[in-house]
Amino acid sequence: MSVQSTARPEWTVVIDPVLQKELEQHIFVTSWPKLLEMVDTIYNWGRRSSLWPLGFGLACCAIEMICSACSRFDISRFGAEVFRGSPRQADVMIVSGTVTKTMMPMIARLYDQMPEPKYVISMGACANGGGPFKEGYNVVSGVDKYLPVDVYIPGCPPSPQALLNGLIALQKKIDGESLADAVWYKPEVERDIPVPVLGPDLIDVRFLEITAEKTAQGLLDKSQAAMPKPLIIPAPQPEKPAVEESSAAPAVVSAADRLRAKMSGAIAPAAAALVSEEAKPAAKPAAPAKKIKKAEARPTLVWLGHEKLKTLSDRLNEKFGAGSSTIIDAGLLVPSEKLREVSKFLKTDSSTRYDYLASLQSVHYQDCIEVNYHLDSTSNPGTVIMLRVRLAEAEGQASVPSVTDIWPGADFQEREVFDMMGVKFTNHPNLTRILMWEGYGYYPLRKDFLEPYYEGPTKVFDSRVEKGHGNHFRAEELNPYGTNMKIPQNFTDWDSLSALDDVKGKNLMPGGVQISELDTDQFVVSMGPQHPSTHGVFRMNLRVDGETVVGLKPVMGYMHRNHEKIGERNTYLMNFPFTDRLDYLTSMGNNFGYALAVEQLMGDDTKVPERAEYIRVIMAELTRVASHMWAIGFFLNDIGAFFTPALYAIEERELILDLFEWASGSRMMCNYFRFGGVAFDLPKGWKERCHRFVYDRLDGKIDELDRFLSANEIMLDRCKGVGALTAEQAIAFSTAGPVLRASGVNYDIRRAAPYSIYDRFDFNVVVGKSGDLYDRYYVRLMEMRESVKILKQAIRDLPEGPILPGKKTYQIKVPAGEAYSRVENPKGELGFYVVSDGSPTAYRYHIRSPSFINLTALETMCVGATVADVVGILGSLDIVLGEVDR
């Protein structure tokens, strides 16, 4: 019997074999891999469309990352707007900015805590491979030394659009993944990163043995011993009476020799040689050598003046015995044992009242370490003087009495000098390392410290041009460790290294006070360095009793990228783009301060043309508006108005950044100022657009912000009376900018010590009353109005003309001398202290950063407040970590 086919006719339809194949290939599920592929498509689509980044920012790039999540670029279009504060909820880590050694253990820990599947986007040159700060001693040469990176985004910084481009690249990568070979489902694959250890340097525990071996061999020390060392010059000495004029010529010869020696990298002839040459004058009176020009000696542009300084010095000598004050280059040299008496006198005596310690820094000379103090008086602003104290040069020998009880604002600055130079401040309440960590092997700003990637005393490095024969290399290849590492050869204590040891915060546990309201134990909370409301990689150790803060110690240095050390190798011009990266929200203002410092040394050689002066002021004031917009937006974020005010404020900032990008070429890193002027003239149409923006828009937008926020009851409740700082405290802590003025101190550098052409404009210094959060917010808001006022005048009066005094040149000749410039940056007084030895490179380059010094007052403001208030108080200080840690 024939079997009748039960198949229905349509089942037996013969399909075109080509179509059949097509169907099998793309439509029919014929095998397990096929099925998996279908699942993969959905699985990957789901994952890539809901990437939750870790709310984690390191440096400048983080600002662009935040911008990409704000009004203009709106990362939520990619499903990635859910920035998670906790790594346990995040699946993509955007490493945005310079990865420092101090921060690296934290980053590894955060990565380990993220659940699988997890991705890493390395954003910006620094995270990719070290970036411009690569040569620094505290910078990791690329986060991929530790983490597996999925997408690299080049650029410095990559614009938000570039970040979105990187995000799309990551989505494409995810689309290509398959469940079948997903490593995170394979139990045998260990993806966790062993947390590196902060010992004498950052040590990767995976290579511990080989590191120990290489350290014992001392390979790096050997190779560096052969390299030319940085020049070290003798400290300036008191001027000889004019009679000895004939001896001046040989001294000049020796100075020129020193310059030549520096160029060839040798150590300068010792001071003794200089003296012996001076001893036999007239031997070669007409030396044909190039004369090193000396800059006019003055501590800063607006200061006490030579005559008054002489009078003051005489008075000090009279009062405290002869020799207690010697004038050297317009600074008073005070013996260290008399420093405290003199300081107390200067602070309290009614004729001087130097109550404001503007800046404190140190210089390493051949014969001494000099610590110098710039003092100003808030009752008589603009009468700056400089005290010098000279101490033993040998490493670890220098010691000076601390002045923290006279000027509490010296606290962090003294710790910084201790950290960088090894100067001990006796009786300092907590003399621990502030930027580096306890146990770090070196004092990095000493001239005899060569970094792991040291290539030469000054730039330009020979290997880049003639002698390199075109062989490019990465700095890692020159270091025996193969990474940015240097360990003292005598270090043997390898067993004691432990990743669990909190070397940064260990010595900064707040003591706190006992309060009896609650019968509970106090405990210490470490807030940061990864915390959404610490404005970067800042950390606070809080001691809390219940919800009340009873003690607080800031821990910083997580973003210390060795700005000053690098700046002492750069030529003067090269430092401009580096200053952009100090306070990366106010790059134009930083440029301004640095330009002024070097122009002060150059004197009349750089007479800034009128047009350039106006352009400078316009840029600085636009910066102020942009920075205050950001500050207000994120302050409101901190007190709970999550992101709506920030989004509104950032719109205006973005429009200002557009103007910057148009004129200078970059949104954030403007690099627009040059010595004696600006880099480029304004493009055609810029002035008109800026005019419209300032005249027609800004006022209205500031009004809107004012209406939106100033009378809001919740805001008033959160801000009034919180974190108050009295005027006396604000001055004592050396706070600056809106923080100082909110406390009722009328002190604005633009008025107190006018620079550039600020004396021509009509504006008011906004002063608050109570010094609480609300006043700080309101001072910023009102300052924007004053800035608009200045802008209107500056744009109206902007003349035509040249923008540079002469031809544009990269060879900058800076006379020998020292200068301290002060500008009123949006965050406060920004100071650049530059010591020049007449060579193309700064001998010492120090930044008085307002964010850093404002933090000195943080503990006082926070004790007694609640944890939620601490966030607001920190927000009201408006710190930027690039400037705090430099």
Binding site: R72, F73, D74, R77, A125, N128, G129, G131, P132, F133, K134, V151, Y152, P154, G155, C156, S159, P160, Q161, A162, N165, G166, A169, K173, K459, S463, R464, V465, E466, G468, G470, N471, H472, R474, N570, L573, M574, F576, P577, D580, R581, E651, L655, D658, E661, W662, G665, S666, M669, N671, A679, F680, R692, D696, F708, A711, N712, E713, K808, Y810
Partner: protein
Amino acid sequence: MALGKGILIGHLVTIRRFLLTFTHDFKAGNFLKRRGGGDLPVDFYTRPKNQTTVYQDDKTEGIFTVEYPDERLPVYERLRVLPVLIYDNEDGNVRCTCCNICAKVCPPQCIWMSQAHSPEGKPVTLPEEYYIDMDVCMNCGMCSEYCPFDAIKMDHNFELSNYERHQTHIYSLQDLLVSSEFYAKTHPDAYASVEEVTERGKVSKKKDQRLQKALQLSRG
């Protein structure tokens, strides 16, 4: 007034902002059609055919988002991303003369270069090798600013994301070269500026002289 006035006024500000977003679309005759969407009246899903550039200035109100990658912000001519080296279109000559100034002004020292040599061993005014490590480059634009030969300029391409850096992030001469035509397109104002026109004139004159000399020699 009573408690809560501040909050109410604040809400009015946000509502105004919200409404502005739509009024501007309406005024522009777009109804609900938004920038960045497709061509249909209500269309959020299809991609626009062409990338559009969104200009925002002091008049911008309401919606502020630029929907990258479908929309973009305008590229300003001075925008600095990574440096490129320029060769002349007409004859393929690389403008760089290996004078080292770019390497001398480079703040992070990310430029390596060496001079080319003629077969006889004489140095020639051309680069033999030229490298830029873009993991070190800080996009500061100093090299292009101080280059006396208009040979190195800052490119505008920021879409450089990639998955690997060790093989790709050091750009060699070949990677860096772009034509003068391309440069003229991206930097029209600078290209037409007096300085660059005179510089080009000088160079072409020199080339011409050299050509004439060579011709004379060949004619004997």
